[in-house]
Amino acid sequence: MSVNEISGLIVGVIVFLGSVLSLISAIGLVRLPDIYTRSHAATKSATLSVLCILFGLFLFFTVIKGYVSARILLGIVFVFITAPVGGHLISRAAYHSGVSLWESSIQDELNGKKDKHHTSS
């Protein structure tokens, strides 16, 4: 096997791993009981899957095509920074708009402290 075939195989395996992580994230989005666990599943593993796939893309164009793309690196950094922030914001909005936790949850640290920290309303 030549170098190109081996690196192509590595790129294929990395992309396949990323897509399997995306499927796991989607299954978590359907199976988990309340919105906070669902946001946990959707944010973390979807971010990791898109990072894997973009890294595979970067590896393909760097090693095989000899074309180093700064746009993919910028995309990796941007997704890695913004996806957890988006998940945090939407979970915070869900808590402040009164979406209830799963009935088997045993701890709610923010309960009763909502008005003290939520000064905007």
Partner: protein, 93 residues
């Protein structure tokens, strides 16, 4: 071998977009739908990346960056709307 893996990956990503679409349709509360739409946006980035790997072209890189930025801005705007009722607040005077 790599092409087979890439096609399987594209199918798997499409299936996970469909599952997230089910959550968009069913989700009991509004933030559920927003989270599912955010995840659909993230998966669209990976689908565009896989398609650009299959076609071996560099023409879609801006599309991936743009989808990331638009998904983030949409999620932030929706969460601000759910939390405060407005997206852009008026200045107090």
């Amino acid at each position: 071998m790599m092409n087979i893996l890439l096609h399987i990956s594209a199918v798997i990503i499409a299936v996970s977009i469909l599952i997230a679409l089910y959550r968009v349709a069913k989700g009991p509360s509004m933030p559920d739908r927003v989270i599912a739409l955010d995840m659909i946006g993230i998966n669209l980035i990976s689908l565009v990346a896989v398609v650009s790997l299959i076609l071996e072209t560099t023409a879609f890189f801006e599309v991936m960056l743009l989808l990331g930025i638009l998904a983030f801005i949409g999620t932030v705007a929706f969460s601000k709307f759910i939390e405060k009722g407005v997206v852009i607040e008026r200045k107090r005077d």
